[in-house]
């Protein structure tokens, strides 16, 4: 994958970081049927999203097929300063994964 599937925007204000991510992913539940063939579309969804800052996990989300397509995720954590790097990664149920690093403003 040439282009990252994760877009990150993060801002720090008084030690409190606000992180926003937009992930491109089909997030198939496994319950939908293909309209033409009538067969089930196999499940394909993100199971785990992790955000690391300074070697520590600051956010860990366990997801399932109930999350929408191209999910948007926003969270906050303390103890960061502007210019720090954060790393966001996901793993889906087929074993695929992606990781992106971004600098906080």
């Amino acid at each position: 994958m040439a282009k990252s599937s994760i877009k990150i925007r993060a801002k720090v204000k008084k030690g409190e970081a606000k992180v926003k991510c937009l992930i491109s992913h089909p997030m198939e539940t496994g319950l939908r049927k293909d309209k033409k063939s009538g067969k089930l579309i196999p499940a394909h969804f993100i199971q785990e999203v992790v955000c690391e800052h300074d070697g520590k996990t600051v956010m860990n989300a366990q997801w399932s097929g109930t999350i929408s397509k191209n999910p948007f995720l926003s969270f906050e954590f303390t103890g960061a300063k502007a210019g720090d790097m954060i790393k966001v990664s996901w793993v889906d149920n087929t074993g695929k994964s992606d990781t992106t690093e971004a600098k906080m403003k």
Partner: protein, 277 residues
């Protein structure tokens, strides 16, 4: 010459029961001043933000969406697909030589040679079929991604739709105008009932957006659709909501409506793609 002139005037009278003599320019002025009088606190160019220009509470939510909007993925995908070469070695850029400067503001335009309204989606698919590619589906999917990319390059440009002095062009304009003001569906409502006369009022829990500036933000990412859609997809939804049978996307009827509807927003800035609830 006299024949054409009489044909024209007959057509005008037949097509516009509302104001037989009104020119598109008069319509535009009346349309504009209606909304500026109705919402005097809204700056004219803010109407491009639809319902969010008139309601502070929903504007707050919308601004949160727009901080990191869902259509960004579509713009990226659109750029990639736009730059991909066709099988014959040409690309979209050959059909839209000025795309970098922004072209969305000039659509829809009236092609006087062919005697029809040309929408941006129509031009995209014509570009594909001319180059031996299959046409895309009209109302969602790839066509909205390419539309989103082209709209993003046109941001800040002012809508500039012209109605040439051509009998067919004026007929198309009047057809769109008629669609806008005519009652339809089991609920017997017109576009104008909601988005002109009752704009700003509540319809159940939602607030009706003013028709002025409707067209600038398309294609839109609509939360209800969880995806992108064209203006014609939205028209279909509107028609269904008044329990009328929707027309097909890119049918002459909707093309005419888009022509009239966009003309009314002349001078307003393009801000597409945008996010709507």
């Amino acid at each position: 010459m006299i024949k054409i002139a009489t044909a024209l005037s007959v057509m005008l009278i037949a097509a516009t029961p509302f104001a037989a003599q009104a020119t598109p320019d008069d319509d535009l002025k009346a349309f504009r001043s209606y909304f500026t009088k109705k919402f005097p606190e809204v700056p004219v160019n803010d109407f491009i933000n639809g319902v969010y220009s008139i309601d502070a509470a929903s504007r707050e939510q919308w601004e949160a969406f727009e901080e990191f909007p869902s259509y960004e993925i579509s713009i990226d995908n659109g750029e990639e697909k736009f730059n991909k070469k066709f099988a014959n070695g040409k690309s979209y850029a050959d059909c839209f030589p000025n795309y970098k400067k922004g072209i969305k503001q000039n659509y829809p335009y009236f092609d006087t040679d062919k005697g029809e309204v040309v929408t941006l989606e129509g031009a995209i698919n014509k570009c594909r079929t001319d180059n031996g590619e299959e046409a895309l589906k009209w109302s969602k999917g790839e066509i909205t991604e390419i539309g989103a990319y082209l709209a993003s390059l046109s941001r800040g440009q002012k809508t500039n739709v012209k109605v040439p002095n051509d009998a067919k062009a004026i007929a198309a304009y009047n057809r769109g105008k008629k669609h806008f003001y005519a009652k339809r569906g089991q609920l017997n409502m017109s576009c104008a009932d909601c988005h002109y006369y009752y704009s700003g009022s509540k319809i159940r829990a939602d607030i009706l957006s003013p028709a002025l500036g409707h067209t600038t933000g398309f294609p839109v990412y609509r939360n209800k659709w969880a995806g992108m859609g064209t203006l014609h997809r939205r028209y279909g939804g509107c028609n269904k909501q008044v329990r009328a049978k929707p027309f097909k996307s890119q049918s002459d009827e909707y093309k005419a409506l888009e022509y009239f509807h966009t003309y009314m927003s002349n001078g307003l800035e393009i801000n597409g793609p945008s996010q709507r609830k």
